[in-house]
C-alpha cells in the first residue's frame, strides 16, 4: 500500500569509471531527477557483494540500483560480466525470500550518459513507487 507522502529510499552502487562519472555528468548538465537515491562509489560494479544488496534490503531499502560500465567497457575488463551473473542469481533468491526482484536493478551507464543516469533514476523511482514499500518493513511479507 502506498500513501502519497511515502517516498522510496534507494541506494545506488556506481562504479567510479563509468556510472559515477555519468551521475556527475547529469550534474554538470543540470539534468533534474528525483532525489530518492544515495550513491555509494565503488571501483567496479564487480565489487558489489550480494551481501551488500541483501543487507540494504533487510534494512528496508525500497530499491537497490547497481550501475556499471557497458559490456566491453568495464575498466577491469570483465568485472561487469560477473556483476550481471550475480544479479541474475540474486534476483532468483529475492523471489524465494518474498522480495520483488524488480527492487534490484542493474543498468549500464557510461561516463557520457548523464541523461541515461537521470532517466534510469526516474524510471526506477516510478517502478518502486508502484511496488510500494519494501515488504520486509513492518516485519516482512505476510
Amino acid at each position: 500500500m502506498t500513501n502519497k507522502s511515502w517516498e522510496p529510499k534507494i541506494v545506488c552502487f556506481a562504479c567510479r569509471w563509468c556510472s559515477y562519472a555519468g551521475a556527475d555528468m547529469a550534474g554538470t548538465s543540470r539534468i533534474q531527477y528525483p532525489p530518492n537515491a544515495r550513491v555509494i562509489r565503488v571501483n567496479c560494479s564487480g565489487r558489489v557483494d550480494p551481501n551488500f544488496i541483501l543487507r540494504a534490503l533487510k534494512l528496508n531499502a525500497d530499491g537497490v540500483l547497481i550501475a556499471g560500465c557497458h559490456f566491453g567497457d568495464c575498466h577491469y575488463v570483465s568485472g561487469n560480466y560477473q556483476t550481471s551473473r550475480r544479479v541474475a542469481l540474486l534476483k532468483e533468491y529475492l523471489k524465494e525470500i518474498g522480495i520483488e526482484p524488480e527492487r534490484l536493478r542493474l543498468e549500464w551507464i557510461s561516463a557520457a550518459e548523464g541523461q541515461k543516469f537521470a532517466e534510469t533514476m526516474k524510471a526506477f523511482v516510478n517502478e518502486i513507487k508502484l511496488l510500494g514499500p519494501n515488504p520486509l518493513a513492518n516485519g516482512g511479507p505476510e
Binding site: W17, A21, R30, P35, I40, C44, R55, D73, H75, Y76
Partner: protein, 656 residues
C-alpha cells in the same frame, strides 16, 4: 579499523551559490555536528581555495582531528586536492572522504530544496560513517619506463612524437596506414594563412622518418594494452607490406607492371592507383605496399609481375604479420577523425549525381598534385564549371546525424571558395549556410576578406533539395533564404558538401583496447572538459587532436603539445604514484577455496598452500574477488566490507 578513536571534522562547501543556493547550509552544518565521532563541523564559501584549505588545516590542529570529511563537489575533481591538505599536516591522506553534494545533489535537485537537504544530510552521514572505518594507506611509487607510445600519425601524433623525441625520450609511433600524415597530407592549402599543407607537413614527416629517438611502425595497429601507468605492456601488430621498407627505392618499376587499377583513397577516390602503390609522393616511409584485397595473387601463376620487375629485390610475398611486444611508460592516442559519409544524407544526392562531391574531394581537386592537377572540372563532363555551390553543415548540427558543430567546415569552405575565385575569377561560388562560424585567431578577418574581396556569395538557409535539371545537365539547388524569407532556386555545375568530422569507425574498439572512455558524441572523453583536456581517466594515457573532438590544425597541434608535455613530465620524473587499492587477504578467514582466483580478471590472486595470495603488482583493486569470496576473506583496500557496510547502515538504520 585502527584502534585510535576517530575524531572527524566535517567541512561543508557553499561552492559560491552552486551548493548554498539550493541546500540550507546552516542546517546541514548543525546536523553534521551531531553525527557520531564528529568533533567539528564548519562551512566555507570555497573549500578548495587556499583559505578553505587553511581552515581545514587549522581545525585539524586545534581539534586534533584524525579524519576529515568534505562535503562539496565530485571526488573526481577535488579528492586529490584535499588528500594533499591532509598530507601537508602529517595526516594520512587516506583518512579522507568526500560527499558529493553538488553534482549528485544541488545541481540535480535544484527546485526541491527540502529533499535536497535531506539527501545532503544522508550523504554526509554516510561519509562520516565510512570515515570512521578508514585505514591509513601508503601510496606506492612505481618506476616509469622511459618511453612513450604515440598511436596515430596525423599532424597530432607527429607533433607529439617530435616533442617527446626532441626531449631525449624514445618514442614508438604506430600508424595503421602505410604512410604517416593523416588528413593534413590530403589538404591543399590551410586556413587561415593559406600555407601549402604539404610544405609545412612534409618537413615534419621526414624528421619523423630520420629521428634517432623515434621508432616508426607504419601499417601497424595496437591490439592489446595491459599493465598500468608507467608499465604498460603493449602488443602491436605489424601488417605485412610485402615490400621490404629498407630495400625499396621507390623507383615505381613495380607500379608500371601492375595490371590492377583501384580507386585512390588518398585522392578521395577521384583518381586511380595500382594494387602495389605508394600512397602519395611525400609518403613516409617512402616504400611501396601491396594491397592484398585487390592484388591478383602474389604467385607467378596468378600474376607476380611486380616481383619480377623489382631490381632491388624488395618484394617479399612470404611476409607474415608480426606481433611486437613493447614495454611502455605512457601512451598518447591521436587517431584522428573520419569524414561524415555523405551517402547518409540522401537528399543531397551524393553518389547519385557525379557533380555532387565532398569537401575533401574538392581539396584533392584543388591540389596541384591531385587527380586534375589543380584544375577545377565537373566530374561528369571534365569541363570547367560556371557556378559552384557549397552546402554547409552536412551531417553536423543536425539531430538526425551529429548534433555538434564540426568546427572546420565553415573555414574549409571559405578557404576553398577563395582558392577557386583566385584561380578562376569567372566561376561563381555560392555558400549556403546556417551561420558562418569563424572563431579562431585571424578567422573572422579571413571570412570578411573572402566575402568582400573575392566576391563569394553567401545565402543563409538550409537546402532542402538537390536534383538534376530538367532542361540541362546541371544541378538544381533549392531551399530557403532565411534572410529574405523567400525560396531560392539556382542551377549550378558542382555542389560541394561540407561534410563534418566524425569519430572513427573503430573508436569504440580503440577505447576498449586502451581502457578509456567515449563522450556522447563518440569521440574520446577527456578527464575534465576544462582543466584536464589531454588526460583520460586512465592514468598514463593521454589523448590529442581530432580523436578527442572536431579540431583544426592549430588546435590539434596545441593539444598534441599538451599531451606530449603531460606524458613527458611523467616519463622524465621516472616514478609515479599509484593508488594503493590492491586486495588484501585475511588469512584467518580464507578457506583456500580458490573462488577469488577464478573471478580475478588479472590473474592477480592465487591460492598457495590453502591461502589466497595477491600479487600486488598485478592487482588493480577492482574488488571482483571480494564480491565473490564466500568468506569475506579478501577485499581491496579503501573499499573494504566494513567501509561499505558502514555507509549502508548509516543510510538505512534508523537512529535509535
Amino acid at each position: 579499523m585502527s584502534t585510535e578513536q576517530p575524531k572527524i571534522g566535517v567541512f561543508i562547501c557553499h561552492c559560491g551559490s552552486n551548493i548554498a543556493g539550493v541546500i540550507d547550509i546552516p542546517t546541514l552544518v548543525e546536523y553534521a555536528a551531531t553525527l557520531p565521532n564528529v568533533v567539528v563541523a564548519e562551512d566555507y564559501r570555497y573549500m578548495c581555495s587556499d583559505p578553505g584549505q587553511d581552515l581545514i588545516r587549522e581545525r585539524a590542529r586545534e581539534k586534533d582531528l584524525n579524519r576529515v570529511v568534505v562535503a562539496a563537489c565530485s571526488p573526481t575533481l577535488h579528492e586529490p586536492t584535499f588528500r594533499r591538505v591532509l598530507g601537508s599536516i602529517g595526516l594520512n591522506p587516506f583518512f579522507f572522504d568526500m560527499s558529493n553534494i553538488r553534482e549528485h545533489c544541488s545541481w540535480v535537485h535544484t527546485h526541491e530544496e527540502e529533499a535536497a537537504l535531506e539527501k545532503a544530510k544522508d550523504l554526509v552521514k554516510m561519509a562520516v560513517a565510512r570515515a570512521a572505518e578508514l585505514e591509513p594507506l601508503q601510496e606506492k611509487e612505481v618506476d616509469v619506463k622511459a618511453n612513450v607510445l604515440v598511436v596515430g600519425a596525423g599532424i597530432s601524433g607527429i607533433q607529439a612524437a617530435l616533442d617527446i623525441a626532441d626531449a631525449g625520450f624514445k618514442v614508438y609511433l604506430v600508424e595503421k596506414e602505410p604512410s604517416i600524415g593523416g588528413h593534413m597530407a590530403q589538404l591543399d592549402k590551410t586556413f587561415p594563412t593559406l600555407d601549402c599543407s604539404s610544405c609545412i607537413l612534409t618537413p615534419k614527416m621526414s624528421l619523423i622518418g630520420q629521428h634517432p629517438n623515434i621508432e616508426l611502425l607504419t601499417y601497424s595497429e595496437v591490439r592489446e594494452v595491459e599493465g598500468y601507468v608507467g608499465n604498460f605492456k603493449v602488443k602491436v601488430e605489424r601488417k605485412p607490406r610485402y615490400v621490404i621498407e629498407e630495400k625499396c627505392t621507390a623507383c615505381d618499376d613495380c607500379v608500371e607492371v601492375c595490371p590492377v587499377n583501384v580507386p585512390d583513397e588518398f585522392n578521395a577516390g577521384l583518381g586511380w592507383r595500382k594494387a602495389i602503390y605508394i600512397p602519395f609522393a611525400q609518403a613516409v616511409p617512402n616504400a611501396h605496399v601491396i594491397d592484398t584485397e585487390h592484388c591478383l595473387g602474389m604467385t607467378p601463376i596468378a600474376c607476380g609481375k611486380c616481383k619480377d620487375a623489382c631490381e632491388a629485390e624488395a618484394i617479399d610475398y612470404e611476409m607474415k604479420p608480426e606481433i611486437l611486444e613493447l614495454d611502455i611508460g605512457a601512451i598518447i592516442v591521436a587517431t584522428g577523425f573520419k569524414l561524415f559519409n555523405a551517402l547518409r544524407q540522401l537528399e543531397y544526392g551524393y553518389g547519385k549525381y557525379p557533380d555532387v562531391m565532398t569537401n575533401l574531394e574538392m581539396e584533392r581537386m584543388l591540389s596541384a598534385a591531385g587527380p586534375t592537377e589543380g584544375k577545377i572540372l565537373r566530374p561528369s563532363t571534365m569541363k570547367k564549371p560556371k557556378h559552384i555551390a557549397y552546402i554547409q553543415c552536412v551531417g553536423s548540427r543536425n539531430e538526425r546525424y551529429n548534433s555538434y558543430c564540426s568546427r572546420v567546415c565553415c573555414m574549409a569552405a571559405l578557404k576553398q571558395a577563395r582558392q577557386i575565385r583566385e584561380k578562376y575569377p569567372d566561376i561563381k561560388v555560392t555558400i549556403f549556410y546556417i551561420d558562418m562560424r569563424a572563431f579562431g585567431k585571424g578567422y573572422e578577418e579571413f571570412y570578411e576578406t573572402t566575402a568582400r574581396e573575392y566576391g563569394v556569395n553567401f545565402v543563409r538557409g538550409r537546402i532542402s533539395e538537390i536534383r538534376g535539371s530538367f532542361e540541362s545537365d546541371r544541378i538544381v539547388v533549392r531551399g530557403e533564404d532565411t534572410f529574405l524569407a523567400q525560396p531560392v532556386e539556382t542551377e549550378v555545375d558542382i555542389v560541394v558538401l561540407s561534410c563534418g568530422i566524425e569519430a572513427a569507425k573503430d573508436q569504440g574498439e580503440l577505447a576498449r583496447i586502451f581502457g578509456i572512455q567515449l563522450s556522447a558524441d563518440g569521440f574520446f572523453l577527456e578527464a575534465h572538459p576544462k582543466l584536464r583536456p589531454v588526460e583520460t581517466n586512465t592514468d598514463g594515457i593521454f589523448i590529442a587532436g581530432a580523436a578527442q573532438g572536431p579540431k583544426d590544425i592549430p588546435d590539434s597541434v596545441a593539444q598534441a603539445k599538451g599531451a606530449a608535455a603531460s606524458a613527458l613530465s611523467m616519463v622524465a620524473a621516472g616514478r609515479v604514484k599509484v593508488q594503493p587499492y590492491t586486495a588484501v587477504v585475511n588469512e584467518d578467514l580464507c578457506a583456500g577455496c580458490g573462488i577469488c582466483e577464478a573471478s580475478c580478471p588479472y590473474g592477480a590472486v592465487k591460492v598457495v598452500d590453502n591461502i589466497a595470495q595477491v600479487t600486488e603488482a598485478q592487482c588493480k583493486g577492482c574488488g571482483t574477488c571480494a564480491a565473490a569470496c564466500p568468506n569475506e576473506a579478501i577485499a581491496p583496500q579503501h573499499f573494504t566490507m566494513d567501509q561499505i557496510i558502514a555507509q549502508l547502515d548509516a543510510l538505512f538504520k534508523e537512529a535509535e
